[in-house]
């Protein structure tokens, strides 16, 4: 397998959890709810997926468990933010802190245990094709699920009546309520969908990306996913683009860190000079690249206030108490 193919494969693996988490959160925010608890939900999904896969031996059961756990965990947020009308920012933060704590507690038993890997797809003939074979037909199942979900969300939001209803709730919950649309029920469903997606993202981390459980293994991916939704102006295909951009940045800096200069001795002069320059950057700064990139991307997208106003779901994060 060539270097280019390997890099592209790892980019997909790095991008998939971001895409899964972000596409779920996009639906949540399109319904007008801001759930900052993505990081916590991902961790709960990761530990649940790992644990179930380990105890049952089946990684697929782990995936299903992760989605269910993610959805149930998000219900905690839903109950507080939707039924008790608590401040959504604080509640989302609480969900993250609780998720970090609970997953750390539950995962204590799994530290150091070798996990179960979710096997990649293999179609004889197709997967063996040069270059594109593995890229298109030989990836892990979560990759395909993430793409299907993205397409599904696009179709749902913009081509179905239910999706239109969800978008209307995000635009004006008072108008929706006055028309008899069941705002809270729709939001609960959206929140649970977001939770399930975040759970799946976590499962990808503990069953595909690595096959271990490490405390706090999301390392901020949940937050990056939140930034991606903003960056994408709440449009699904742009979330896809953003996830892969960030996947590329992550992989680039990992590769720079992992490559030894001695391996590059055969490169032409200017490239070798550039590579030496990159290698002289401390590894911590390279690791910081995805986080810094997130900040830059956020600044770029929010600069145009007019555009932001037009794209943001108008009732995002606002409290809703129905009068009856």
């Amino acid at each position: 397998m060539g270097m280019a193919e390997a890099i592209l494969l790892t980019i997909a693996t790095a991008a998939t959890p971001l895409l899964l988490a972000a596409i779920g959160e996009l639906v949540v925010e399109r319904s007008g709810v801001l759930n900052l608890g993505v990081e916590g939900m991902m961790l709960m999904g990761a530990v649940a997926g790992f644990g179930v896969a380990l105890t049952t031996g089946s990684p697929w059961l782990g995936v299903v468990a992760a989605a269910i756990v993610g959805a149930l965990f998000s219900l905690l947020f839903g109950f507080l933010a939707l039924t008790l009308v608590t401040n959504q920012v604080a509640t989302g933060l609480a969900l993250t802190l609780l998720g970090i704590g609970l997953s750390g507690m539950i995962g204590e038993a799994f530290v150091g245990e070798p996990g179960v890997k979710l096997g990649s797809l293999y179609i004889p003939g197709l997967t063996d094709l040069p270059l594109v074979g593995r890229l298109i037909f030989g990836q892990d199942p979560m990759f395909y699920i993430s793409l299907l979900l993205t397409g599904g969300v696009m179709w749902f939001l913009f081509r179905t009546r239910a999706g239109l209803t969800l978008r209307s709730v995000g635009d004006s919950h008072t108008s929706a309520h006055a028309l008899g649309i069941r705002v809270i029920a729709i939001r609960y469903l959206a929140v649970m969908f977001g939770g399930a997606c975040a759970g799946l993202a976590g499962a990808q981390l503990s069953l595909v990306y690595t096959t271990q459980w490490i405390e706090n293994m999301t390392a901020g991916r949940g937050w990056i996913a939140l930034a991606l939704v903003v960056f994408a102006s709440w449009r699904p295909w742009r979330v896809l683009a953003g996830a892969y951009l960030f996947g590329a940045i992550t992989i680039a800096q990992l590769h720079i860190q992992a490559t030894n200069l001695s391996d590059l001795a055969g490169l032409p002069g200017p490239l070798l000079w550039f590579a030496t320059l990159l290698k002289s950057i401390p590894s911590q700064f390279l690791s910081a690249l995805p986080y810094l990139a997130t900040v830059v991307v956020l600044v770029l997208i929010s600069r145009n206030r007019r555009l932001t106003m037009m794209n943001t779901p108008a009732s995002l994060g606002r409290a809703f108490v129905p009068d009856r």
Binding site: L80, V85, T86, M105, A288, V295
Partner: protein, 371 residues
């Protein structure tokens, strides 16, 4: 059957006072359930967590040591949250404050006198403030979401610290341990009662900060400005207050206090710079701020409660063999309960069975007076 919220015409003063206690009580119950689920004796577990650390003097000192940074940071967060600026990056500002202050004994090792420590503390505060200025300026100038930017900067700050103590600032004498050289005695925060425990001036700083910020918020025009901008930005603009100036002010104050907490911690409890200098104080402080109902005086009590949870976790690990990872879980649950109980301050909660065309009490927000 459904849960219905009836908005109160005014905030309930009763529940404003009661809510934190209610939340604490619920957390204790939830904790008991978790202990039972883990196969441990709930009563022993709860005792180890919440009572035992209070029974010995040295332990009370430890309580003060842990509470000091929590209170310092939370008091600053309080100013931010009240003005609707969500500074989630206090952990990063804590770290940068430690770095800024800790640079002085490292670069000027011969500067050893009464002025060393105050200078370190001031620099720590400045460092924290400068780091907090980044998300503040991005929000003020570019309207960028401060939650995400301040949080990303936490990861960056930790990586900077990691690089420093493994690289340029590494103590050659420490062999395989990545750490900076220990601070000399003039650079260490003095202890209060050395005979009975380790508690140092940090707790004094925390109490002074709490009182000062309480006074500002409760009694001055500045405090009024902060609260109005946070509650009703348009009314604040109508009053002539500048949202931009408030953003900068809130973040600078919060960053300075977090930076002060950082340098106090490394030049007090720890004594040097090393890769890990905080068990998540910056995030636990968020919980302290809410548990203290965003009131600096309440935050003092709340800080002690969360400090207790840290000590309790260690004690429970020894007493009943449960992992100290329970600490973070408890803290997270506590915040959940605090937020849920706060609902009672604004609304009455009723369980409602819909009956045909008959008695359900419900109240809409009639305040606008339209129609």
């Amino acid at each position: 059957m459904r849960l219905e919220l009836v908005k109160r015409p005014q905030h309930s003063a009763l529940f404003s006072a009661l809510s934190p206690f209610l939340a604490f009580g619920l957390m204790v119950i939830a904790g008991a359930i978790i202990f039972a689920a883990l196969g441990k004796n709930p009563a022993t577990g709860l005792y180890a967590y919440f009572i035992q650390p209070l029974t010995e003097i040295w332990s009370l000192h430890e309580l003060a040591i842990k509470a000091a940074p929590l209170i310092l940071i939370a008091v600053g967060l309080c100013v931010c949250f009240l003005s609707n600026n969500w500074n989630i990056g206090a952990e990063g500002q804590f770290t940068i404050g430690a770095i800024f202050g800790g640079a002085i004994p490292l670069y000027f090792p011969d500067f050893q006198n009464y002025a060393t420590l105050p200078l370190m503390l001031i620099f720590g505060a400045i460092g924290g403030a400068l780091y907090a200025a980044i998300p503040a300026l991005l929000k003020a100038r570019f309207n960028t979401n401060e939650i995400l930017t301040s949080l990303m900067l936490v990861y960056v700050a930790q990586l900077i610290l990691d690089w420093l103590v493994r690289g340029p600032w590494r103590d050659p004498a420490a062999m395989s341990f990545p750490q900076a050289p220990a601070f000399h005695p003039w650079a260490i925060v003095p202890e209060l009662f050395p005979m009975s425990g380790r508690a140092n001036l940090g707790i004094v700083f925390a109490l002074i900060a709490a009182v000062a910020v309480w006074f500002m918020l409760a009694r001055t025009l500045k405090g009024f400005e902060i609260k109005v901008i946070g509650q009703s930005p348009r009314a604040g603009r109508f009053g002539g207050f500048s949202a931009t100036r408030t953003i900068i002010f809130a973040f600078l104050v919060s960053g300075a206090l977090a930076g002060l907490a950082g340098i106090t911690e490394v030049s007090g409890a720890i004594g040097r710079l090393q890769p890990q200098i905080s068990p998540g104080y910056g995030f636990a402080a968020i919980i302290v701020a809410f548990l203290g109902r965003l009131n600096p005086l309440g935050i003092v009590a709340a800080g002690l409660v969360l400090a207790l949870s840290y000590l309790g976790g260690e004690a429970a690990q020894i007493e009943i063999g449960v992992t100290d990872k329970t600490v973070r879980a408890f803290q997270g649950m506590l915040l959940f309960f605090v937020l849920a109980c706060d609902t009672l301050i604004h609304y009455q909660v009723r369980i409602v069975r819909p009956k045909p065309a008959q008695a359900t009490e419900s109240q809409t927000e009639a305040a606008h007076g339209h129609g």
